[in-house]
Amino acid sequence: MRKPVRLEEQQSHGYFMKQKIAPWLFLLLPIIFTLWLKYYPILKAAYISLFDYDPIKQPGTFVGLKNYLTMFKTEFYWEAWSNTFVFLFLQILMAFFIPIIQALFLNELRKAKSTVSTLYLLPALIPTTINVIVWRWVWHPDYGVANQIVQFFGGQAQLWLSDPELVKFCIIFPGVIGGGINVLLYLSAIQNVSPDIVESAALDGCTGWKRIWYIVLPNIRYIIFIQLIIAVSTAMQMLDAPYMFAAGGPSGASTTQGIYIYNAFNKDFNYGRGSAASVILMIVVLIMTMIQMHFENAERE
């Protein structure tokens, strides 16, 4: 196989130098901006986390790992982690599998497949802000639909977003309507399952439910797994929805890691502790990402 463009060997020395340096000149600006806008801040977070940070007289006094140690000792920090994991668990349980189910059954439809898949896109177009506006009204203790439904079935009226026990459920629940881009991703994966396999399986009597269970699902397990890891890493960084729904409350019941960090510097003005939490979160997400990349590479080979 001939390498397509690399023709340096045939050129003169000056041209060779130009070909060597030119690509890096092209990349110079993007690299500088990436370093400046993304890598520098995370290093700065690590740096600030070692200081009793003073925004006026930066960077304040050096305290070593004290920020981390005091943070680990506070119960609220671990509560934020446990909240994060409960969110994660609920997200996987309630919202993650819905698009898969929707895509599987959508694929079974003969008619209206295209129209339905367009309609499935709609939830992706509603920004979180508007979702929050709508669902806060649904969960309203006095006028909301949720209490009407609960009372219709003979249940007790609930406080929903003001109830520390229920707030996490209420924040994740809007996800059960499913839809979004993921449905289309799964659908395209399902449609890419080789028709030969499906046909030969059908000859062996593997149709209907069996086909879904034994042929389709195993063939799309890779994309499901990748989406799962992406969902886990997104849920770890959850910030917007809990903040907009309940601002981390009531009594800290919806405080995720993101909100913990935000409150640390915005409410408590403790920049050192906020940075320490940032670094820990970064490490956890990094580990998740490495697992993801590991499996992706394994699958490719």
Partner: protein
């Protein structure tokens, strides 16, 4: 033979049950997806009293339009005094009806002033308009009754804002109703029982149903930002469009910068670097994108503030000025597939790198550019936290920030909020429906590669 047949029957039964379940699940899913929209539309069309009804109704009540004619034939005085009286009466009638008859779904009030059988004064207000004046305008924080309504020059100011037509010789285009409908009179009697008074005498009153008035509410909901943030000059002038413009600026900038930067990086990595260096560069860019926003928001805020990038467009736009790793990766994968002969031929003719990039790569990559633009749009359409952290000035707010702040304001009414939300997403939904074919194709093609 018999056994064989049985198997066949059983299998088709399984197929049938799958089909039924598939249709049921899809229909339920679609109903669930429609639920937020239905709720939003129905709430946006209700009036401020009806949205608090328990149990909530799905369909809004029919909208009523009330016309009131007041006669001033007995009035003795100058035309200016007459005008002042009619202004006062119009304001009393409108706000009186709005306050006392809040359960009657009166969405529109028309006020006619007559003298000697001629219609000389006409004013008209939509309920949502009165709501705005009550919440943020002239009557902000007042208990509505005749004394407060007309205190000092308030009556005149309110009349000016609502708008009226006046001609002492008679308005040619407006004709006051003649009839005194019984139900309308009973309603008006309630209004003018205690709190509200009129100078003239009611000569005619009618009610009629006009459901198109429900849609007119939206036009007034859109003015909410003008009223709510009237102290900010830009918002007071352009209102909701300020936020739309900011969103367009931010998303437009993000799309342009991402397409340019990522395609450039993808081109260099795919065509000019050695495979090993290319791999490291991809990792470098992907790694940057993996850093969670929650982890860097604090140092980023400090850094931006130190640079003076706070509360201005720089703060909003700067975060998009680095290439997103995933998009670089997509571009690289795309450019890898362009046949090398294209480049070799151009190279031998002495084409420079920038020529290869602008004249060969870019024209070929329309589909991938569309995909990146779409992904950037969907990503930023949702973006909230950073824009919210760095903007204090209302004229910098993007739609998400504005909606969040409006929704958190205690005096915001739910129907107005729902109305604004609906107007915000409707254009995007319509555009997406119009281009749904291309949209789905590009999403699905990105999925195949994983």
């Amino acid at each position: 033979m018999k056994k064989n047949k049985q198997t066949k029957v059983r299998l088709s039964g399984s197929d049938l049950s799958l089909k039924i379940v598939a249709i049921t699940v899809t229909v339920i899913s679609l109903l669930l997806i429609m639920f937020p929209f239905v709720l939003t539309i129905s709430n946006a069309m209700k009036d401020n009293t009806k949205i608090y009804d328990v149990p909530p109704k799905l369909l809004p009540d029919a909208a009523n339009s009330m016309s009131v004619a007041v006669d001033y034939t007995c009035f003795q005085g100058t035309p200016e005094e007459l005008l002042a009286q009619m202004q006062d009466d119009m304001v009393s009638t409108m706000f009186g009806t709005y306050t006392i008859l809040n359960r009657e779904s009166i969405f529109e009030i028309k006020f006619y002033g007559t003298q000697d059988g001629k219609t000389i004064f006409y004013g008209r207000a939509h309920q949502a308009q009165l709501q705005l004046e009550k919440d943020y305008g002239i009557y902000e924080g007042t208990v509505l009754k005749n004394q407060t309504l007309l205190y000092k020059d308030r009556g005149e100011r309110a009349a000016q804002t609502i708008g009226y037509e006046y001609d002492p010789n008679g308005l040619t285009r407006r004709n006051a109703p003649q009839e005194l409908q019984e139900n309308a009179v009973t309603l008006l009697e309630q209004v003018f029982e205690k709190k509200f008074k009129l100078h003239g005498e009611i000569s005619a009153a009618t009610t009629a149903k006009h459901n198109s008035l429900l849609f007119e509410s939206f036009a007034h909901y859109m003015k909410l930002p003008n009223y709510m943030y009237s102290r900010n000059e830009t918002v007071a002038k352009y209102g909701f469009m300020t936020f739309v413009m900011n969103t367009v600026i931010v998303i437009g900038f993000a799309i342009i910068s991402q397409v340019l930067l990522c395609s450039l990086c993808g081109f260099v990595i795919s065509r000019l670097l050695s495979p090993k260096a290319g791999k490291w560069m991809i990792l470098f860019f992907l790694g940057a994108q993996m850093i969670p926003f929650a982890s860097i928001m604090l140092p980023q805020l400090i850094m931006y503030k130190n640079m003076g990038a706070y509360n201005n467009y720089t703060a909003l736009l700067l975060p998009f000025l680095y290439p997103y790793g995933f998009y670089v990766y997509l571009f690289k994968g795309f450019f890898d597939k362009i046949p090398g002969s294209y480049f070799e031929a151009a190279r031998l003719d002495g084409a420079s790198n920038s020529y290869l990039y602008t004249r060969i790569c870019m024209p070929l990559s329309k589909s991938i550019i569309a995909l990146i633009a779409l992904q950037t749009f969907l990503g930023n359409w949702n973006d909230f936290f950073w824009a919210w952290m760095v903007t204090e000035r209302q004229d910098l707010w993007t739609l998400n920030v504005a909606l969040y702040n409006i929704s958190n304001n205690v005096s915001t009414k739910q129907n107005a909020l729902m109305g604004i939300s609906l107007v915000t997403i409707l254009p995007v939904i319509l555009i997406c429906l119009a281009f749904s074919k291309q949209l789905k194709a590009s999403i699905m093609s990105s999925g195949v590669k994983g």
